[in-house]
């Protein structure tokens, strides 16, 4: 009887929690993005628009990107050709839409490679430490010291005459595109591994990791279940910012004439040497590809910044 009484008293004294349905983490982040970060949302919308253009290029673009004489030579923008035509009569709007595809393709592929490298290096280096960590960090030091564009141009210079046996000579799935993707992936991946390593180090000291170790959790399960999910924030942020940088890097190489093959319409390539001769006559040749490129980079930068603030305020670097 007395015992029962005590139980009811304990029940009455227990703090009353209002049961609120907890939203899944990413839904919550998305909601806060919409509510708190108008610029980030704007960036996200830009990115989404460009991604849709990239996916639907074959329907959205009114002309084939390389179709000579789709209109007259150097026609000003009109209803027939929204962004005008270039010196070979190709439709600039269609080329920009198709340019979104190569930009997004290179961007995503490079970021996948970079994320793989940075997570592998960061986890191994931060979790296991020891001589492996020391060795890798010295290599990363040397790598970070290398100016990015110098590295990229060096790699491109070395592999200019190489033809991968499993790839085409021209087009999107060609050796030059592959080289750009791999070198960007290495460049970003190694640089970002430092940040992932830092995050892994700080997570490794958390009490829940200690608790997991105490109950005998093995390395694989520890990394996959306890460490990796808790370093997702920097991984996502770095990937978003990396996409913008990868797109910019591809455009820069193509601008210099060392990027994607000439038959692939690329924003950087559209601004390159051959196009420059005609720009004094056709302003649209300079403006539209540049605006598309800037908008894509701007979109990813804004989205990445907002995600960094929402996911992991510690990462804020200005």
């Amino acid at each position: 009887m007395a015992q029962q009484e005590r139980a009811t008293i304990a029940e009455a004294q227990a703090p009353q929690f209002e049961l609120r349905r907890q939203l899944p983490f990413y839904v919550d982040v998305l909601r806060r993005l919409v509510r708190e970060k108008p610029l980030g949302l704007f960036g996200g919308a830009l990115v989404l628009l460009i991604a849709i253009l990239a996916v639907t290029a074959s329907w959205t673009a009114p002309f084939e990107p390389n179709q000579l004489g789709a209109g007259g030579r150097l026609e000003a923008p009109s209803t027939a050709h929204f962004f005008g035509t270039d010196n070979l009569g190709r439709d600039v709007f269609s080329r920009i839409v198709w340019g979104a595809r190569i930009a997004m393709f290179v961007g995503f592929a490079a970021v996948v490679v970079a994320t793989f490298i940075s997570v592998a290096l960061g986890l191994l280096s931060g979790y296991f430490g020891g001589w492996f960590d020391i060795l890798v960090q010295r290599l990363v030091d040397a790598f970070i010291a290398f100016p990015a564009l110098v590295f990229l141009l060096g790699v491109v210079a070395v592999f200019r005459d190489w033809q991968a046996p499993f790839l085409q000579r021209e087009g999107v799935f060609s050796t030059p595109v592959f080289i750009i993707i791999i070198s960007l992936g290495i460049l970003f991946g190694v640089g970002q591994s430092r940040i992932i390593r830092g995050a892994v180090l700080s997570v490794s000291q958390a009490t829940y990791v200690e608790a997991a170790r105490a109950i005998g959790v093995g390395h694989t399960r520890m990394i996959l279940r306890h460490i990796l999910p808790n370093v997702m924030a920097p991984i996502i942020t770095l990937a978003t910012l990396g996409l913008g940088n990868a797109i910019l890097a591809e455009a820069t190489l193509s601008f210099l004439g060392l990027g994607v093959p000439p038959d692939v319409p690329s924003w950087g390539g559209m601004l390159s040497r051959e196009a420059r001769i005609h720009m004094t006559v056709g302003w649209w040749l300079a403006v539209f590809p540049g605006v598309a490129l800037s908008a894509a980079v701007f979109g990813f930068n804004m989205l990445g910044d907002a995600l960094r603030d929402l996911l992991d305020p510690r990462l804020r670097t200005g």
């Binding site: 010291a145 100016p147 592999f159 005459d161 820069t252 601004l271 800037s294 980079v297 670097t317």
Partner: protein, 316 residues
């Protein structure tokens, strides 16, 4: 302090060695017959040229021996010869490096002249119209590539007003004003691009410092705003800003490569691009090595300036 400098320089040695090894491998990684590729680039190349190139690259010896020879040469300042002009890469660099350094320095200077005051203003007048304008400008500066702004600068003023920025190089001997004016436009474009991240960093750090107790004390003592901001806040906010500026030396180098080829500046960047197109591998190798070593050294200098900004940081 001297001890610290020596230790930093010693620590830089493995990094520089790794960089040297990477540039050494550059020629060995080229798939296919390097000499054949280089010969194919120049229809006027003779058999004598082939023999000379082969001898100079020393490709017939075992790799470790080649690396030892390469190291020895590099340490004596011998970066090989361009197979086409026959000029030594070292003397090409000697002519062009000052141009690039001058250009890059001017760009970073312009970047700081824009970024620091705007960043400070943006922090001091947080959440005002000026702050929003400054922040939007910084984001734009980060997103719009220099080669695009450079094209706009070259194309539009010339069609509208018949004006274009100078595109033929003026050496110092043509008069210092002409010389500096020649750099001005490309340096402004590059500087604006660099200003974006410096400005954001300055703003963030100033905001953090301005909330500190000693700033409130300074206000309470009745100091003028100018004194508080420049003498008390700015100096404490600058350390991460200096780090960013140091990191930007690499970015600025990338920018000089692009802008030198647009504005016809006879610097290292244009030489580099030219060498890549001509398959002039010894020159490519020399440029990569020198640029990377410069960036490593600049980063040491950047670390050393921390002590001047913040005496609490002891090197030891």
């Amino acid at each position: 302090m001297t001890e610290y400098v020596i230790r930093r320089l010693l620590l830089a040695i493995p990094t520089v060695l790794l960089v040297m090894f990477a540039t050494f491998m550059l020629l060995r990684l080229v798939p296919g017959d390097l000499v054949e590729l280089m010969m194919a680039e120049n229809p006027y190349a003779t058999e004598e040229d082939r023999a000379r190139i082969e001898r100079e690259l020393g490709l017939d010896k075992p790799i470790p021996q080649q690396f030892a020879v390469y190291l020895g040469k590099v340490l004596r300042g011998d970066f090989g010869h361009s197979p086409w002009t026959g000029r030594s890469v070292a003397s090409e660099l000697q002519d062009r490096l000052p141009v690039t350094v001058e250009f890059g320095f001017m760009a970073i200077l312009i970047g700081l002249i824009i970024a620091l005051p705007v960043g400070i203003l943006s922090a001091v007048r947080q959440d005002t119209l000026a702050d929003y304008a400054a922040r939007s400008f910084a984001i734009l500066a980060l997103s719009v590539p220099y080669f695009f702004t450079a094209l706009l600068l070259i194309v539009f003023p010339s069609t509208w007003w018949g004006w274009s920025p100078p595109l033929t190089y003026k050496p110092w001997s043509a008069g210092p004003i002409d010389h500096l004016y020649y750099y001005f436009w490309p340096a402004l474009l590059l500087g604006v691009g660099l200003a974006g991240s410096v400005m954001r960093m300055t703003r963030t750090m100033m905001l953090e410092v301005l909330r500190q107790d000693y700033i409130r004390t300074a206000w309470a003592k009745g100091l003028r705003e100018r004194a508080i901001i420049t003498r008390h806040a700015l100096k404490n906010a600058l350390i991460p800003v200096v780090t960013i500026v140091g990191l930007q030396v690499g970015t600025a180098l990338g920018g000089t490569i692009i802008l030198e080829s647009i504005f016809n500046i006879p610097g290292v960047g244009r030489y580099f691009i030219g060498a890549i197109f001509q398959r002039d591998y010894p020159s490519v190798q020399g440029v990569v090595l020198v640029l990377a070593v410069i960036v490593v050294l600049v980063n040491i200098v950047v670390d050393l300036t921390y002590g001047w900004l913040d005496p609490r940081i002891r090197y030891g």
